[in-house]
Symmetry: C2
DNA sequence: ACGAGTATTCTTGTATACAATTTATAATAA
DNA sequence: TTATTATAAATTGTATACAAGAATACTCGT
């Protein structure tokens, strides 16, 4: 019944989902025995999953004390947006140079689905389509390693990006930016594609800073593990 | 006697060192029981260390078959250098803008030690000082996340960078590039700093051919696990 | 009543035992 | 001899047992 060895992957995904969607609060400790009971497995695979999450930075393991959901401060988040902007900009630049014919139509299709979601005004739908759109951008770089890195970081920033689309105007302006980005890429304008994408992401970082108050309002556990990066 | 909990870290470092320095060939399988005997620990901490290495991409774990030293093909290596160049360029750009007074002297000091090693013609020394130099560059970004990412990727590329410096001329030209980079950063010239660093890292021109020949010359194990990125 | 020091409990880290699957080996048939 | 299948060996994944350290509760003293 159980897939060959996807169990750990499954555990990892489940926990990641819990964290990203806020079901497990920031700073909260992930108890190994409780998790092992919840998933009906022993501690061993739980530990493996936790280590994998720690490797991505989503949780933090303190020796002999446990693993905690990463509790990022505003500076760290800004830093990550800064890097995210660079990576996406790079994808756009490479995409503008390298995009192949069949990908052009795909990009336009994705833009259309974004438009539909934006016009419908459904923030959840737009969020999903937005993810897809950016995923396509990553692929356009034709650099799988870059695409993976970008996707990983994007995932890591999910919780903070999600807050933003709740701001009414953001969805509309986000889509407008998408249009300009697609134009630049299809037009082969590397510099514009890079710049537009950078700003597209950086804006999110800046907006996020404005929304810090919401983070403070969001459920926050006792700040046990305060950002201690190696 | 054993440090609090640095054992896994120690294992990780030891294995990483073995891999990076080629004592364990590419594609070779890392046998858990043999390693546990070698380090006189049980399989459990060995497995943890291997998982951590897998997270960095230095090794690859195939379910139910074992973990193998990552066997990167030329395309993957090129891709990674492309990203490395972007990150380093970003560090340089930010550094040129943000560098503080006390860091200026530190940067110059590092440049001097590089000069010494280059003039002595000692490739191993230069390799070490070169690492230090780039580490300082990363710090100049004043973006810890970026610095960490850059360092991690740099580490990942170590084996291939090491090959490059074996090319006699490379050490000399590398140092010349360092000089220009430092000038740009200290002069606050963001664009130059970025561009120079990018080119410094990027594999292009003759260095591409050099890398190819070096890779072909390197010892390579039975190609069991051929680059399968998730 | 409050604090320091100690004992208890709980949790993580490691070792070992077992199960499941893959790889290697051997034997048989074409 | 070679291919195929069955059997055996070896290796990974998981569970459990045990050890060491940390957190908590408790006792005793002031």
């Amino acid at each position: 019944m159980n897939k060959p060895q996807h169990r750990i992957q499954h555990l990892r995904d489940a926990l990641e989902d819990d964290i990203v969607n806020g079901r497990i609060a920031q700073g909260e400790r992930l108890d190994e025995v409780r998790l092992s009971q919840r998933f009906a497995v022993s501690r061993t695979p739980i530990r493996e999953a936790l280590r994998q999450l720690a490797a991505t930075g989503l949780v933090e393991t303190i020796p002999r004390r446990g693993t905690f959901v990463a509790n990022l401060g505003l500076p760290e988040i800004i830093e990550m947006f800064e890097v995210m902007a660079e990576l996406e900009g790079m994808c756009g630049r490479l995409g503008a140079r390298r995009i192949a014919a069949e990908q052009r139509t795909r990009l336009l299709e994705k833009l259309d689905t974004c438009r539909a979601a934006a016009e419908a005004g459904n923030s959840d739908d737009y969020y999903y389509e937005n993810e897809q759109f950016h995923g396509v951008i990553y692929e356009l770089s034709y650099n799988r390693f870059l695409a993976d890195q970008a996707q990983q970081l994007r995932n890591r920033l999910k919780p903070y990006r999600r807050l933003q689309l709740r701001v009414p105007q953001r969805m509309r302006s986000s889509f407008e930016e998408h249009k300009a980005i697609v134009d630049a890429i299809l037009g082969g304008n590397e510099q514009n594609a890079e710049l537009l994408l950078k700003n597209h992401v950086l804006i999110q970082g800046e907006r996020f800073a404005d929304l810090v108050s919401m983070i403070n309002a969001a459920p926050k556990h006792e700040t046990v593990a305060e950002s201690a990066t190696a």
